[in-house]
C-alpha cells in the first residue's frame, strides 16, 4: 500500500539521530583540545596534570612539590606519571574528576586558576584510553587518618560517565596528595615546545614550586623552589554581568536558588545591588519577580541586552594575584645569563567584565644571540603557552610595539632582533583563549592595550640601559684611540728633550692618568647575576644528538 511507503522522511532521519558519543566528538575535535599530534599530546597530558596539581596545592595553601615521570614503554608509547603533595580528592569524587568530561570545580566560580573548564585532565584520560586502551590509574589520599584510594578508570564514551575497572585501598607513604598514571601514544623530543621546555618555563614564573622531572632518557632534573612564599591566594568572585554569555547565563538561571530574577541578579553577580538589578530588569523589559527557572532563551537574550544598556561599575580587581616584579626578575635571572633585567606589573584592568593584570619582564644582553629574533615567553595564569605564538594577542602586541625606539632593530611585521628574552604574563579570573587547548590569547582591544603599555614601560627602561651602554662603549672606544698615541708623545718628547727611558715611561704613565682624570671614571652598568644556574638554563635545549 501507498500508506506504507508514505513514511514521513523525518522518521527515517530520526533513525540516524542520536547522542553523539564523546569519543567521536573528541576524535573530531582533538586539535581543539591540544591533541593534534603525538608530540603535542604528550605535552598536553603532562601540562593538564601539572596544572591541576598546582591549582590544587595552591588552593589548599600547600607549597607544591610535583613529581613528573615519563617512561618510554614501546615505540611511540609512553607512560606518564604525575604525583603531587596536594590536598587529595575525596573518594567519591575521584571517578568523576578523572573520567567525566566537563566535570570540575572551576567552571562556575571565577577565580584566577590554571584550569578553567574541567575538560583537560579527563580529555587526557580519554586520549590515553583511545590510543592504548589502558585505563587511568589514580591514587589519592586526603590525610593520614584516611585511607589512600586506588582506582582504575575508563570513560564510558557513550554516556560520558566514569567506568570503574578496579577500586582498592592501598598502602601509600604520602600523607596526602594525588597520583595519576596514564599510558598513551606520544612522541618525545627536546627543543622548543617540548615537555622539558614547558616545565622549565613553568619553573621560571612559579618560584614557589618544586618540580622533580624524569625524562624518557632517565635523566632526572630537579627545579628547586626559590621562594617559600605561596602566591597570594586568588579571591573568588562572582561573574560581572558585562562578561556573561548566553549559554552560561542559561545554566546559571537553571541552577540558582534565587526565587526572583531580581534576587538572582543580586546574588549571582558582582557589582549588582538592588537598584542595579531593578534597572537591568527594566532595560530588559522583564518583570523583576519572574522566576529564574521560567526564563526562556529569548528572555535570557533580552536580559543580556538589558545588561548591556545598564551602567554597572567595574568588577573588583583585588581578586588577581600577579607574580610581581621582583619574582619575575628573579625567575628571569635563574634562566638567562643576561646583563640587564627589568620587570613590571601593570595595575589591574577589565575586559568584558573580567578583571586582569598584565606583567612583562625583559632580560637583555649577556650570552644571548644579538643576531636572532627576540625570545618571547608567553604565560597565562602562570602557565606557559608554547603553541600558536602567531595567533596570540601577546605576539600581536609585541609586533605592534616600536622596538626601534628602545634600541632593537625590527623589520615590519616581525619580532625585533636582539639579545633579548621577553616574558609576558596575563593573570585573570577568565583568560580568553582562542580555543579550548589554551594556546593563544584572544585579541581583546583592552588586553592588547595593556600588554602594549607593559611592553612600552619595559622598553623605556631597556632603552635607557642600551643608550647608556652605547655611550659607555663609545667613550671607551675614544679612550682606547687616545691611548694609542700616548707612546708616540712619549717617544717624541724623549727625542726632543733627550730624556731617559725611565722618563719616557713616566710620561706615558702620567698621560694615562691625566686621561682618566680628565674623562672621568668609566661606569660598569652590567648587572652581576648571582642567581644564574647554567645547568638550569640548559634544560629544554635541543641535544646535539637529537639534531642529527
Amino acid at each position: 500500500m501507498a500508506e506504507k511507503e508514505d513514511v514521513p522522511i523525518a522518521i527515517e532521519l530520526a533513525k540516524k539521530q542520536r547522542d553523539i558519543s564523546i569519543a567521536s566528538f573528541f576524535e573530531k575535535n582533538r586539535h581543539l583540545l591540544g591533541f593534534d599530534n603525538p608530540r603535542k599530546s604528550l605535552l598536553t597530558t603532562i601540562k593538564e596534570a601539572v596544572d591541576n596539581s598546582l591549582d590544587a596545592c595552591e588552593e589548599a595553601g600547600i607549597l607544591p612539590e610535583i613529581n613528573i615521570e615519563v617512561i618510554e614503554m614501546a615505540e611511540n608509547k609512553f607512560r606518564v606519571i604525575v604525583e603531587d603533595n596536594g590536598p587529595g580528592i575525596v573518594k567519591k569524587q575521584i571517578p568523576n574528576i578523572f573520567a567525566k568530561l566537563l566535570y570540575g570545580s572551576k567552571f562556575f566560580k571565577l577565580s584566577q586558576s590554571r584550569g578553567q573548564q574541567g575538560i583537560g585532565i579527563s580529555a587526557s584520560v580519554l586520549y590515553a584510553q583511545l590510543t592504548t586502551g589502558k585505563p587511568a590509574r589514580i591514587t589519592s589520599r586526603i590525610s593520614k587518618k584516611h585511607d589512600a584510594h586506588y582506582y582504575e578508570l575508563h570513560i564510558d564514551t557513550q554516556n560520558n560517565k566514569p567506568q570503574i575497572i578496579k577500586e582498592d585501598v592501598v598502602e601509600w607513604n604520602k600523607e596526602h596528595g594525588t597520583r595519576i598514571e596514564l599510558d598513551l601514544e606520544g612522541s618525545y623530543q627536546k627543543g622548543d615546545q617540548s615537555v622539558d621546555q614547558y616545565l622549565k618555563q613553568t619553573a621560571i614564573v612559579n618560584p614557589h614550586v618544586t618540580l622533580i622531572y624524569t625524562n624518557p632518557k632517565a635523566e632526572q632534573i630537579i627545579f628547586p623552589k626559590a621562594s617559600e612564599q605561596l602566591p597570594k591566594k586568588p579571591v573568588e568572585i562572582k561573574p560581572h554581568p558585562y562578561g556573561i554569555e548566553i549559554g552560561i547565563l542559561l545554566s546559571m538561571l537553571k541552577m540558582t536558588e534565587a526565587r526572583t530574577l531580581q534576587s538572582f541578579l543580586m546574588n549571582e553577580f558582582s557589582r549588582v545591588g538592588y537598584g542595579t538589578a531593578k534597572l537591568i530588569c527594566e532595560n530588559a523589559a522583564l518583570l523583576p519577580k519572574t522566576k529564574p527557572k521560567d526564563i526562556s532563551r529569548e528572555a535570557a537574550e533580552k536580559l543580556i541586552e538589558g545588561i548591556k544598556k545598564t551602567k554597572i561599575i567595574s568588577p573588583p580587581v583585588d581578586c588577581i594575584s600577579p607574580i610581581g616584579q621582583e619574582l619575575l626578575e628573579k625567575g628571569l635571572k635563574k634562566e638567562i645569563n643576561a646583563e640587564f633585567y627589568t620587570a613590571i606589573t601593570r595595575p589591574p584592568a577589565v575586559y568584558r567584565g573580567n578583571p586582569f593584570i598584565v606583567e612583562a619582564g625583559i632580560a637583555y644582553g649577556g650570552q644571548q644571540n644579538a643576531e636572532e629574533s627576540m625570545h618571547l615567553l608567553r604565560y597565562a595564569n602562570r602557565v606557559p603557552l608554547l603553541y600558536q605564538q602567531g595567533a596570540c594577542a601577546v605576539t600581536k602586541s609585541v609586533l605592534n610595539t616600536a622596538w626601534r625606539n628602545y634600541g632593537l632593530s625590527q623589520s615590519r611585521g616581525a619580532l625585533p632582533i636582539g639579545p633579548v628574552t621577553l616574558v609576558v604574563h596575563i593573570a585573570s579570573v577568565w583568560v580568553p583563549f582562542t580555543s579550548e587547548s589554551k594556546e593563544a590569547i584572544a585579541h581583546y582591544p583592552e588586553i592588547i592595550k595593556e600588554i602594549k603599555l607593559a611592553l612600552q614601560e619595559c622598553g623605556r627602561k631597556l632603552a635607557s640601559y642600551v643608550g647608556k651602554k652605547r655611550r659607555i662603549q663609545f667613550e671607551s672606544k675614544k679612550r682606547d684611540y687616545i691611548r694609542l698615541f700616548i707612546p708616540h708623545v712619549g717617544e717624541a718628547l724623549k727625542e726632543l728633550l733627550t730624556l731617559k727611558e725611565s722618563d719616557e715611561k713616566k710620561v706615558e704613565e702620567l698621560l694615562a692618568q691625566i686621561l682618566e682624570k680628565k674623562r672621568g671614571k668609566l661606569e660598569n652598568i652590567e648587572a652581576k647575576n648571582l642567581e644564574y644556574d647554567e645547568e638550569f638554563a640548559k634544560i629544554g635545549e635541543e641535544d646535539e644528538e637529537d639534531k642529527e
Binding site: K478, Y481, L484, H488, V489, L496, K518
Partner: protein, 365 residues
Amino acid sequence: MKKTKNKQVLKEITDTADSVYSRIKKKKAPELKMPLRALSNVKYDPKDGFFELLGKMKERTLTASTIKTFAQTLRMMSHAKNIIEEDDITTKREMYYISKNWAEAAFKEQPESDTVMDDMEAMMMVNREQLGFIPEEKGGEVAGKLVVIDKDSDTGKEIKIDCTKFGSGAYSIPISVEHLKFETNAKFILAIETAGMFQRLLKHNYWKKANCILVSMGGVPTRACRRFIRRLSDEKNLPVYVFTDGDMYGYANIYRTLKVGSGNAAHINEYFCVPRAKFLGVTPQDIIDYKLPTHPLKEVDIKRGKDALKNDPFIQHHKEWRKALEQMNKMKVRSEQQALAKWGLNYVIEKYLPQKLKNPKSWLP
C-alpha cells in the same frame, strides 16, 4: 749668521717640547696652541700691504679629535730638530714617507702631513725652510733683462746668469731665493699667469721691446716665486704688473695671493707677498672694450666670486675690486688671456699691452 739663526729655531723647538713636558709632569693635559690659518683669521691693512694674522688660535691636546695631530706635530718637531742639527733637508713628500715609520701615527695622505708642517711654521712663526723642509714645486720661470747672481754649490764662487740668453727657454726660480742678487736696467716686471702667454711674449722678444722682465707664475705663485718677485722689485725698485686670465681664479686667487698673501699661509705672508703689484688685465671691462670671446661662468666661478666678496678682506677693502667682481657676476662670462688672439697672434704685443701700460686708469689696485 746662519748658525745663530738655526740655534734660535732649535731653541724654539725645544722650548715648545719643554712646555709640553712640564705640563705633563704637573699632571695637566698637555697642549699645543697655534694660530688658525684661514681667511677668517686675517685682516688687511693697506698700509702694511699684506694679510696679517688675527688672534684666533687652535688647540691640540689629549682629545679624540686632536690627539693624533698632537702626536704627529711632536714627532715632526723631533724630525725637524734632527735635520737642523745635521744641516740636512727634507722635502714635503719625503716627510710624508718618513711618517710611515710611525705606525698608527703615520699620515694617510700628503696633505695631512703638509697641514701639520704649515701648523708648525705658524706655531713657531718661522718658515718651513728654516725648519729644514722644502717643497717639490717649481718656483716659476724668468726671461728678459735681468742678471741673477747665484753661487756654485761646490766652489762657492759667484755665477752670473743672464736671463736674456735662454733663447726660447727660461731661467727657473730656485726653491730658496734669499741668497740671490740681481743686476737689471729693466723698467718693470710683468708677472704672467699662463705658460702659453709667457711663450708668446718670449717668442717675439716682447721684453726687448718693452724693456722688462717676464715671470711665468704657472697658476697661483709658489712661495719662492712670490719671494723672488718681492726681492727683485724691492731691491731694484721695479713696478710689478700682473697679467692673468679674466676670471675669478685669476683675480681672487692668483693676483690676490701674489699681492697680499693667503689665509692659509698668513703666518709668513709678510715676506712672501708683493704689495706694490698692480693688476693689468684681463679685467671685466677689457672683455667688453676688446670684444673678447667668452665662456659662460660656471657654478664654481660664481660661488668663488660671491665668497671673495663676502669673506676676502682684500677684495672687500677695494671698491674697484668689488665693482669688478660684481660686474663679472652680472656679465656671467669670463675670458682667457689668449682670447686676444682673436685679433691676430701679435695683437697682445702690438696693441693690448702697450695700450694697457699707457693707461693706469684701466688697472685694478
